[in-house]
Structure formats: structure tokens, C-alpha cells
């Protein structure tokens, strides 16, 4: 496949590029009035995820409106537990909520593994539509949650500051936890392969709750499963974003992925030293910095680009866009990256 703008793919392969590519986590979302207009017509977030035409529409919006170098399919990491047999609701005030949770081995036994991917046709359809409508303008990023983050929701049942129920499970039921992680990994690998088949040119694994684990547990319960997924999809550039897992950066030096995501707590130079010279780094502007006036956003963007250096960097935020960010400032950031990074 040949893209009119393939700068993200070339950068993700470690090639020198004419400028730094840029996209934003949560670029398809509430920050765009055009997204809110689509969303208002529907009963909820999940309906938008499961309606391929509309998911494709909001996926493409930021390419048109913000000028980012990639689209990322509009979806949710929690479609995997749902497809495995554990449905969830999205509650306006609370966030995701699972009426049933995983409590023991027989709960795990009842879940689907590879076959879960068969229940996510609506995602492949959305990717297919997006791919066709993009007509090769920019590549499309596919994604999934890391198995540990998915497990955390499947056991806790909802978001949490401590995820103490999920972490208790890791301590007291390590065998069942590994069985669950293995099953999630099989479901996720199959799911990602189908996303690639449908048109995703790069993939990102989001370990959103990486930061709640002690280092030894992260090495036991999260990293090996992300590794397995990455090893099983070697034909597209792979990004791993383990939010908050500052303690694991040196493990990525030899990891089977091309790009490592950094959050805004992670010092750029220190991270480069820990991750080593071979990986591409992605990130890591503080999403709150987009609340600044434009001249200061410009300055912060320059500081970030200078710290990363001209190569092996994909500009992004250190977390998803906050929904109350002004659209004009998001666009300003994208333009600033493009202008300031020009060789």
C-alpha cells in the first residue's frame, strides 16, 4: 500500500524523515465539535463504536480538521472483554462498568479466546470503510488494550484509583490470572491481525493502568503478554504505551516493537538513555499544556522537539487529549510540530 503521506510509517521504521510526524491520542473525540454532532444523535458511546459508518466518520474527522499524519480507528479497549463474553456499559459519570466480573477459574473457562475476534466484525467494518474513504491519504492505526489493563477491568468491574481488587487477584490467584491473561492475549492477537487485514497499517498497545503495578508484578503479569502480541504481528510497526510504568523503560531496549510511548512524567533524555538508541519514541507533551496561550504552546512544542531530537520521534501527547481543550489549540500544536521540525 502506498500512502500520499506515509511519514508516520517511515518514522516508525526508524528512517530519517523531512520533519517529525504527529498525531494525538483521542484525536477522534469530544475535542471536535464535529464529533459531538455525530455523538449527539446516538444513545451513547458504545453505539458509536458499534456503528461502522459513524465510527469511520469520526475516525477521519481529525485528518481533515487537524491535519494529523494518521487516523486511529475510533473504538474502545473494552470491546475485547465484551467479545470474550463479559459485556460492559458506559456510564456518563462513572465511566465503564461491568455488571459481571471474573472471580475464579470457571469464570475464565467460560470466556472466548481467539473466537472473541469473530464478534468484532463491526470494528473491521469500520476500519474497512475508513481505509476506503481515506483513499491512501494517511495510514490508519489499529489498537488494543494490553492484557493486564483488560484484566484489571474484568476483575475490578470499573475504573479505580487503586485497582486493589484486581491487584489482590494477581497476588492470591496468580495461576488463574495467568490463565486469564493468556486468553486475553489470544483474543487480542487475533483481533489485531484482523484489524491489519482490514486495513490498519500500524498498531498500538495501550497499557493504561501499567503504573499501578510494582515492577516485579509488571514483569510477571504484563510485559510477557504484550511481548507475545508484538511477536505475533511482526509485519506492521508496533507501538507500546505503558502509561506510568517509568520503571520498565530499560526493558524496551530489546522489545519486539518499533516505538515506545512516553507519558508526560517521563523525562525525555532519561527515557532515551533507558530505552536505548534503536527505538522510536512517541510523545509526550502534557495534555494540559494545550490550555496555554498559543505563543506558549509554540515554545513548549519547541522544547519537546529539541529534547527528542530530529529523528526517531513521533510527536504526540503524553496521554489522551482532554475533552475541554480548544480545537484551535490542538490544530495549533499539530501545525507547530510540522513547522518547527522541518529539516
Amino acid at each position: 500500500m502506498k500512502y500520499q503521506n506515509d511519514i508516520l510509517i517511515r518514522a516508525a521504521r526508524g528512517e530519517e524523515t523531512e520533519r517529525t510526524p504527529v498525531w494525538l491520542m483521542r484525536q477522534a473525540g469530544r475535542v471536535l465539535p464535529e464529533y459531538r454532532a455525530v455523538r449527539e444523535k446516538l444513545s451513547g458511546f458504545i453505539e458509536l463504536c458499534t456503528t461502522p459508518e459513524l465510527a469511520a466518520e469520526v475516525t477521519i474527522q481529525p485528518v481533515d480538521i487537524l491535519g494529523v499524519d494518521a487516523a486511529i480507528i475510533f473504538s474502545d479497549i473494552l470491546v475485547i472483554p465484551e467479545a470474550m463474553g463479559l459485556p460492559y456499559e458506559m456510564q456518563e459519570a462513572r465511566g465503564p462498568y461491568f455488571p459481571n466480573v471474573i472471580q475464579n477459574k470457571s469464570d475464565v473457562d467460560r470466556l472466548l479466546a481467539e473466537e472473541a475476534a469473530d464478534h468484532l466484525q463491526y470494528v473491521y467494518d469500520a476500519i474497512d470503510i475508513t481505509f476506503k474513504e481515506l483513499k491512501g491519504r494517511v495510514p490508519l492505526i489499529g489498537f488494543a488494550g494490553a492484557p493486564f489493563t483488560i484484566l484489571a477491568y474484568m476483575i475490578e468491574g470499573h475504573g479505580s484509583k487503586t485497582f486493589s481488587k484486581a491487584r489482590r487477584f494477581l497476588y492470591n490467584e496468580p495461576v488463574v490470572a495467568h490463565a486469564l491473561l493468556e486468553k486475553i492475549t489470544r483474543a487480542t492477537t487475533t483481533y489485531i491481525k484482523r484489524q491489519i487485514d482490514a486495513g490498519a497499517a500500524l498498531v498500538q498497545i495501550f497499557d493504561s493502568w501499567a503504573g499501578i503495578l510494582p515492577p516485579d508484578q509488571y514483569k510477571e503479569f504484563s510485559l510477557p503478554y504484550i511481548k507475545q502480541i508484538c511477536e505475533d504481528v511482526p509485519h506492521v510497526p508496533r507501538t507500546v504505551f505503558s502509561k506510568g510504568a517509568f520503571f520498565i523503560r530499560d526493558e524496551f531496549a530489546q522489545f519486539p516493537c518499533e516505538t515506545v510511548g512516553l507519558d508526560w512524567n517521563m523525562d525525555i533524555q532519561e527515557s532515551r538513555k533507558m530505552v536505548g538508541p534503536n527505538k522510536v519514541l512517541q510523545g509526550n507533551m502534557d495534555p494540559c499544556a494545550l490550555y496555554l496561550p498559543e505563543d506558549k504552546i509554540y515554545q513548549k512544542t519547541k522544547e519537546m522537539l529539541d529534547a527528542f531530537g530530529p529523528n526517531k520521534h513521533i510527536a504526540n501527547l503524553g496521554h489522551g487529549l482532554y475533552p475541554d481543550t480548544e480545537k484551535s489549540k490542538v490544530k495549533f500544536f499539530v501545525d507547530a510540530v510540522k513547522e518547527l521540525s522541518k529539516r
Copy 2:
């Protein structure tokens, strides 16, 4: 003042001790049925904080029941904003909630600074009663929130995963933010001095939300104010616990405090290298590890003690006790530290 058990004070001064001292964050709290019995008689958490006899009673409970080497006064970091003029409620499901928040310079101007400490007589009374009732058995720890964490609540109005409103304020209103931080610092310093006057033998500063700031903002908006407080109370051992601020550990090497708290994400040997040889380290067992069976708690405790080494360590958790931990396991942990660390 001479204590029958002064091992915590000696360890905090960097002296070699016959074993490692131990206490637990949130040791006075819901983990003890004896606490819940007191709490049930009252309308809420804030009533317990503001009733000196009962606050003293629950402060002493863990000394009797768990055998910890110190009491820590039962109170809340949010009594400071309340005393400065910003009252809060404690909502069962949501946690703390401020009906009014700080939005601009004139809101800051209306707040009390040093005089806020005059409104916290109930805390000094609780310390005074505790001190008398302890009869020198163990020392009493006083505490306060770090100015940045207090500011975060005063602007956001409640707990938050991102504190994006508070962080936006730091970016867009740095002058007002510094004015607010300075005022909180003056209130807090006076408050801590009065706690010491009333009987607190050590103090701890909790920067509970340290981990949400980028390193440069942490160095600008948090650390200097903690430093100022520490410099103003040089006569008792001072502990700083900046939860999640892994990126700041090397700054503590020369910091005006005796002890640095570590959370359970922070590798012990790496932290020792960053903080340097002179400080005492406090922590850092994962609170979830207390859900394990006793033989495994024993093993985890041994691993932690071995990693810290015999000196310049105060055993604790890496965060507050989770309320659903079994009391017998908390006691087991305390006993395991005492037994395993005996020289």
C-alpha cells in the same frame, strides 16, 4: 521528652538501631473494627476529625492493637483549606468535595494564611490528649499535605484522575498559583509548628498528587514549598512522601528532611542510589501484598527488608492501608518486620 520506645526517632536521625522501626500509613482507620465502632456512632469522617477525644482514641488504637512504633494523629490533609476559608464535605461515594473553589486572585486574597492555624485548635487538642494518654510509650507523628496537593483540591474541588482543572491553572495562572501556594505554605508551617508544640515528635508531608505533574512543574510548583516548610521546622525529624514523583528522587539527596517516603512502584536499590546514602528511606510494601497468605507476607517482608538493608530504613507500606485488609494480616506484617529485622 523520653519515650519508652523511641526507635523511630533514633532511626529517623540516622542512628543504627536494634531492629527496623515500623508504622503504617492509615493505621488508624477502617482496617480496625475498633475504629469502625467509634466511627459508627458519628455522622461522618469530619466529625471524627473535629472531636479531639475520639480522634485521640482512634490515634492510639493501632499502638495497642498492632504494636506499631509510632502513633500518627488521626486527621485529614484537607483541614488546612477548610481553616483557610474553603470548607469541604466528605461524600461517602465521591470522597472530598469543595462547594466553592479557587478561581482567581481575589479568591486567594480572601483566604487566611498563618491565622488559619488558629482555627485548628481541635487538632492540637487531639494531639495534646493523645500525647498525655500515650504516656511516652511511643512518639506521635504530626502531618500535613504538601502545598501543591492542597492547591490541587482547592482548584479542582474534588478528587480526579487527571486534576486537569488544577493543572490548567498552573499553566495559565502561574502568578496566582504561586500566591496561593505561598499562602498555603504559611498556613501549613504555622499549623505544623503548633502540632509540634502540642506534642508531635516527628512530622510527615504528604504530597499525594505529586505524580500528576511533569518534572519541570513539580520543581517549580511543589518542591520549593515543601522545602520552605521543612526549613522552618528544623527541630524534629521530617519525612517527605511525594507519591508517584519517581522523577524527583535525586532532588532529595540535599533536601532539608531526614526521611524520604517511597511508594511501591519505586525500586528500592535504584531509589537508594538516587536519594544518596544520607537519607533514611521509608516504605514501601505494596498495600495489596497484605491480601496474601501469611507465609507469603513473611517472604515479601523479608525481601523488602533485605533490599533496604538494616539501617536508614523505616518500614511502612508504599501507600495507605486499604480498608478491606484483614487486621490479623496487618499485625502479622508488623510482627514480621520486628522479628526479621532484629540484629
